[in-house]
Symmetry: C3
Subunit: 252 residues, 3 copies
C-alpha cells in the first residue's frame, strides 16, 4: 500500500519480530527507535489484537512534527511523548483514504498503511477523520519501580534477543535509592541472591559473568557477558527483582 500510494517515499522497516499481541513490547521498540528518525517522519506501528473491535484507529501529530499512525491501544503514545508529546489526534474514518473492501482483520494493510502513505505525501491530518481529545487515548499500564533508601524493586520490563533484562529504572531512581557510583549490587530473585558488578560496559566483565549496566536507552539492565540473563536468573517479562546495596550475595 505504501508503494502504491507513495511510491517515491523511502520506507525503513524497523522490525517484524514483535511477538504476536505484545503491545508493550512493540511500544518499547517504537520508543527506542522513533526519536532517532528525522523530525517530520511518518511512523506506522501495528500490534493490534483488538483489530475489528471498536478500538479506534488513529493518526497523531507530535510536537516535533512527526506523525504516528496505528491502533489506539497504547502502542504509539509512549513514542509520541518522546517526540515532544501529542499535539493533535484524529480518528481514522475517511472512506477516501482506506482500501475498499476494508477487511475486519487486517487494518495494517487496509487503513493504517493508506493513512500513513497519504500523510507522507502531504495530506493534512484533518482530512483523515475527526479530531479527538488526546486525553482520551488509551495508555499502557506500566508499573514503575519501588524505590527506598538502599533498595529498589522493579519488574522486568523487556528482554531482548540476547536475554538481557531491562528494567524501568533510570538514573534518578538510582540516586533516590542512594546507591553509590559503581559498587556491586545484590540482586535478589525468588529463591536466590547474587552480588553483581555494576559496570559501564560488558568489557569490564569476563565471559559468563553477570553485570548490571545502564543500557543505550538509559535504563538499568541485567545481562550476562556472552550469555543470557533471562536463562541464568530464570526471569521473564514481569518478574520482580530486588536490587540492594551491601553484602550477602553469592557471586552468580
Amino acid at each position: 500500500m505504501l508503494a502504491a500510494i507513495a511510491p517515491s517515499v523511502p520506507v525503513a522497516d524497523i522490525s517484524h519480530l514483535v511477538p504476536g499481541f505484545d503491545i508493550d513490547r512493540g511500544a518499547r521498540m517504537l520508543e527506542a527507535a522513533l526519536p532517532y528518525y528525522p523530525a517530520g517522519s511518518v511512523h506506522m506501528g501495528v500490534v493490534d489484537p483488538g483489530v475489528g473491535t471498536d478500538r479506534r484507529g488513529i493518526a497523531l501529530r507530535a510536537a516535533r512534527g512527526d506523525h504516528c499512525v496505528g491502533p489506539d491501544n497504547g502502542l504509539l503514545i509512549g513514542a509520541a511523548e518522546l517526540l515532544g508529546g501529542v499535539t493533535e489526534v484524529v480518528e481514522l474514518q475517511s472512506p477516501a483514504h482506506r482500501l475498499h473492501p476494508t477487511s475486519r482483520t487486517f487494518h495494517g494493510r487496509d487503513i493504517f498503511a493508506p493513512a500513513a502513505a497519504h500523510l507522507a505525501i502531504g495530506l493534512e491530518l484533518d482530512r483523515l477523520g475527526r479530531r479527538i481529545d488526546p486525553a482520551t487515548l488509551v495508555r499502557l499500564p506500566r508499573t514503575g519501580p519501588e524505590v527506598d533508601v538502599g533498595t529498589i524493586r522493579a519488574a522486568v520490563a523487556s528482554i531482548n534477543a540476547y536475554g538481557t533484562c531491562q528494567f524501568d529504572v533510570v538514573d534518578a531512581d538510582w540516586e533516590r535509592a542512594g546507591f553509590a557510583g559503581r559498587s556491586p549490587i545484590v540482586v535478589e530473585v525468588s529463591g536466590g541472591r547474587w552480588t553483581v558488578p555494576h559496570v559501564l560496559t560488558f568489557g569490564e566483565t569476563v565471559a559468563d559473568e553477570p553485570l548490571l549496566f545502564e543500557d543505550s536507552s538509559g535504563r538499568l539492565s541485567l545481562a550476562v557477558n556472552l550469555g543470557s540473563a533471562a536463562l541464568r536468573f530464570g526471569l521473564r517479562v514481569g518478574s520482580w527483582v530486588r536490587f540492594r546495596t551491601g553484602e550477602g550475595g553469592a557471586t552468580a
Copy 2:
C-alpha cells in the same frame, strides 16, 4: 544484484521467512501481496528446490502490466492470475542478462535478480529468452474443498505465525453448502468435535476462544483469540477438517 544493475529502483522486501522448499507457502504469500503493489511492478520470487535441474527459469508478463520472475515450479502462477493472467512468458536464457560464472545452486543471485533488475530498468521481456507457451507452465496441485449441502470438508491450506489455519474455502462454497449467515459451525477434526462461533472479527470472542472468520484474503480461517488454532486443534498444513451446521459439538 538489484543495487548493481538497477540502483535507482526502489526495492520492497516482502519476506525471507518462507520455510525452505515450501513452494505452496511461497505462492500463497505472493498471491496475498502482489495485487496490492502498483500495476507495472516487477516481482521476483525464489523458492527453488529444483535449482540446477532442468526446471526452467521464467519471466512472465501479467495482463495488469506487472512482470514476475522466478523458477517455473508453480511459485508465480497463482499470483500472476490475480494480476490479470499471464500474457507472455519467456524462458530465461540470455547470457547477457545473468551473472558469470553462473552457479548451479543460487539462481536467485545469478539469474533471477539480474533478469528482474533489467526488466525494472526497461528491458523488453523478449530480450531475456525465447517465448514459451503459458499453457506449459508448471502449476501447483491444490485440493479444493468438498462441498455438500450442510457440510464442507477442506484441508488446512496454510498456517500463519499466530497459528491461524486458513482453508481454500470462499463465500461461494459457504453458500453452496447452505450455511446460514452467522450460525455457529461444528468443526470436526480427527477425534474431536467443537461448536465454534462464526464471526466477523476477533473482537466478538474472548481470549482463548476459537473462532471461524473470513480472513483478509476472503478465505475461511480458524483461529483462537490471542492463541493458536494449530496447537489447540492439532492441525498441520494438509490436515482435513469437516465443517457442518447443527448441534452436537462441545465448546472448544
Copy 3:
C-alpha cells in the same frame, strides 16, 4: 541514524539474523554478499561482543572504492580483501561524526551508522579519525583444511538455514588431493563413514540423499536433498570431517 544523516541514500538491509556474538558467521555473510554490491558502496557490519572495551571502531577503504565501517574485530577484513584489499583505515574518533551522548553498549547506532552515513554523503575518510596501519587490524583465526594425496580433513566452517555444511575447501585443495572429477567421496565423521555422490547440483540426487557440491561461493558443501546435513551427520560449526577417495563407506 542513516535516515537522519543521509536521507536520500538508498539502504539495503542484508540481514539481522547473525547469531549473537558470532563474528565469524557475520564475516562470512559479508564475504558472500559485499562483492556483488556496486563498487563504491558503503557497507556497515556490526557483530560486536567487545563494544565499549578498547577494541577500535574503524572505517576502511578497499581498493575497489568501497568503504566498510564497524568494529575492529575481524568482522570486516575478509570482505575487504574480496573488494581488492584494504588501502586505508582510520580509527573512528571524530566527535563531530557520532551521536551525543554516546552510549557504551550500542555503537551500531551511536558511532558506526553516523560514520557510514557521512561517508555515503561524501565525507572524506580522514575526517572520521586518525589513520592506522592496516597491518594492525584484528584478523579472525581460520583453520584451513589439511590436504594430502587422497584425503582432505576440514572443519565445518558454517551451516546455513537449510542445515547445509560449508567447508573452507576450494577447487585447488581438491586438485592437490588428486580427487578425480566426480567420483563418489567417502565422508568420515566421528563414528561413521558414508559414500556420498559428488555432484554439480541437488537435482542429481533424490529426496533425503546426501550430496557433496561446490556451493555458490566456490566452497565444498555437504547437503541433504530436501533435508539437513547438520542433523543427518550430527555436525556443528567446527566439527571435523575427513573426505577420501575409494571404497568402504556405507551409503548414508
